[in-house]
């Protein structure tokens, strides 16, 4: 659920951001990446993940795999668009719960 104070007018230009540390042992690999792609696709938002200098479109598995993100890496999630807040919250929750893995 999106927090009420986070929701701006549709198509808001101001990006919503959060930084989350990867918890699952395997990091961002095929299965966790696939879960992330599907979560991002549920929202009307453009979501970008950033690790150091590299950024990835959250709807592209290949982009996510090329981040090479491992357990303990801090990943910045940035979203724009009508569902930006909800998208960031959902993706942050997925990562914080280790994609349902250990």
């Amino acid at each position: 659920m999106a927090e009420p104070d986070g929701s701006g007018p549709a198509g808001q230009a101001r990006p919503v951001e959060a930084t989350v540390v990867l918890r699952n042992q395997a990091g961002l690999h095929a299965r966790s990446g696939a879960a992330l792609v599907k979560t991002a696709a549920r929202f009307d938002a453009r979501v970008t993940l950033q690790l150091k200098a590299q950024s990835a479109n959250a709807r592209s598995l290949m982009d996510l795999l090329r981040l090479g993100a491992r357990q303990g890496d801090g990943i910045q999630i940035t979203a724009t668009g009508p569902d930006a807040t909800a998208a960031v919250e959902a993706i942050a929750a997925l990562m914080e719960h280790g994609f349902g893995e250990e």
């Binding site: 990446g33 696939a34 592209s60 598995l61 290949m62 795999l65």
Partner: protein, 153 residues
Amino acid sequence: MVGLVIVCHSARLAAGVVELVAQLAPEVPVRAAGGLPDGSLGTSADTVQRAIADLDNADGVLILLDLGSAAMSTEIALDGLSHDQRARIVVSDAPLVEGAVLAAVQASLDLPLAEVAAAAQDGRRFPKGTTAMPGRRTASRRAIDAPEAPPEG
């Protein structure tokens, strides 16, 4: 949604790729076309054709191949199709496993065939674990000098 056909010489290899893809993108229709009808190794145009026909309701079909004659069998299978049927099929030369995984995940987002095919093609750059770029560590194993064989006689 775009569907995938996995053409392999081995029925078990094709089934394994389908199994892997199903875990990552269970909603994507994927059909195995592996092995010859008698169960031996090889690729069969008839088997490929049946797999394609099975995906008649998909919004396009991406075909992924293992090796060699998989391409020829697929060509023969496609020769039997009408122009319209052929237009909704792309044969990929992406690496099989990487291509299938990437294509299926993007297909699950209901992307058009061209984008799903492009995702498969990205499989050529698919990172393989953390050892994809081995360091320059020189081999520490030193060849053991074998004693020279004593001269004959």
